[in-house]
């Protein structure tokens, strides 16, 4: 922001920050296009961690990236079969 707009109290984001934010979003979209294997790896890793806490239906699990114009969300649908008693882990 230049001195003038600072003095005027305008809160215009510098154009480099606009560029960075636009790039961040566009790259999330670009990179998400090429990664079915990556999603599969992620799913496997997630299931391993979750299995420490609850019993889940591995075959019924779905992991995907949902994208719209403004954001990208990682959506996981994991059916739970049984939850371990939490006390058994806190005592570890």
């Amino acid at each position: 922001m230049d001195l003038f707009s600072k003095l005027m109290g305008k809160d215009v984001p510098s154009s480099k920050n606009v560029a960075k934010e636009r790039l961040r979003l566009v790259l999330v979209h670009d990179r998400s296009n090429v990664s079915p294997q990556l999603l599969e790896c992620l799913k496997e890793d997630m299931l391993k961690v979750i299995a420490n806490y609850m019993e889940i239906d591995k075959n019924g699990t779905e992991v995907s990236l949902n994208t719209d114009e403004k954001s990208v969300a990682l959506v996981a649908n994991i059916p739970v079969i049984k939850i371990h008693r939490l006390t058994s882990r806190t005592s570890l």
Binding site: M1, D2, S14, S15, K16, N17, A19, K20, R22, L23, R24, V26, L27, D30, R31, V34
Partner: protein, 265 residues
């Protein structure tokens, strides 16, 4: 046994050819044996940037297809004895050579030269696949613009999906005054986004236009700022540790005034 390095970017017009010419010339001036390989078949330009356009007899396609011996297609540079150019064909297209031919060519060249620098065409199609086929290392050139960084990211993904791990980044045409004002992405922004190692930064410099007009790479001009940046990059490629050049050299009026008045910044 030499090293085969591809210089690529995805987007056109970011300075791949200028970068190839300058790094190659700088490495040659350091005493290395260097061959520059123009793989932009149909749109060759490395010859004019090097000022060697009048010496071409045979080209890459001739050499790859055995229409001439490889040595016959190599054009000796005017300034350095151990610097040669293998020009692209101008009347053919990217399908005129195959990935296997490129691999063979690179294998043969690196027997003879310390550095084989490959100038890659823009895009991600056959020309790109040919250019990276025989390479062992990759340099990605980008500029501090959204479109160039986006394409660089795509190229980095494609390089890493092939055998070319750990490509290194050159940020070209950076304008320190704009960076200072917050109107251009800075070095850290771009490394942060692209998440690869930095090989060097080259400032926007009018001397590049002048040197390209003359067909004399800017590294030969002791006063060229960009030329100095390219010389540093060449030394890093050769394994030296060279700090980044200061981007504060482009003096503002205020800076000059401060110096006149005896304040050192």
């Amino acid at each position: 046994m030499g090293e085969v390095i591809v210089i690529t970017s995805g987007k056109g017009g970011v300075g791949k050819t200028t970068t190839t010419a300058n790094i190659g010339t700088a490495l040659a001036s350091m005493g290395y044996k260097v061959v520059l390989l123009d793989t932009d078949i149909g749109l060759r330009n490395l010859d004019v940037v090097m000022g060697l356009e009048n010496r071409i007899v045979y080209d890459l396609v001739d050499a790859a297809n055995g229409h001439c011996r490889l040595k016959q297609a190599l054009i000796r540079d005017k300034r350095f004895e151990h610097l040669v150019l293998l020009p692209a064909a101008q009347t053919k297209d990217k399908t005129a050579v195959t990935v296997d031919q490129m691999k063979k060519l690179c294998r043969e060249l690196k027997e003879e030269f310390d550095y084989v620098l490959i100038d890659c065409p823009a895009g991600i199609e056959q020309g790109f696949r040919n250019a990276i086929a025989g390479a062992e290392k990759a340099v990605v050139v980008t500029t501090p613009e959204v479109a160039a960084v986006r394409d660089a990211d795509r190229i980095i993904g494609l390089l890493e999906a092939s055998e070319l791990k750990n490509p290194r980044l050159i940020i070209n045409r950076i304008r320190p005054v704009m960076v200072k004002k917050g109107d251009m992405m800075d070095i850290n922004d771009m490394i942060d986004i692209l998440a690869i190692d930095l090989l060097g930064v080259v400032p926007e410099d009018e001397s590049i236009v002048v040197s390209t007009n003359r067909g004399e790479p800017a590294v030969l001009d002791a006063n060229s700022w960009a030329g100095r940046a390219y010389r540093n990059i060449a030394r890093r490629i050769a394994g030296e540790h060279v700090p980044l050049i200061s981007l504060e050299l482009e003096e503002t009026l205020f800076g000059k005034l401060k110096k006149l008045l005896g304040f050192r910044s």
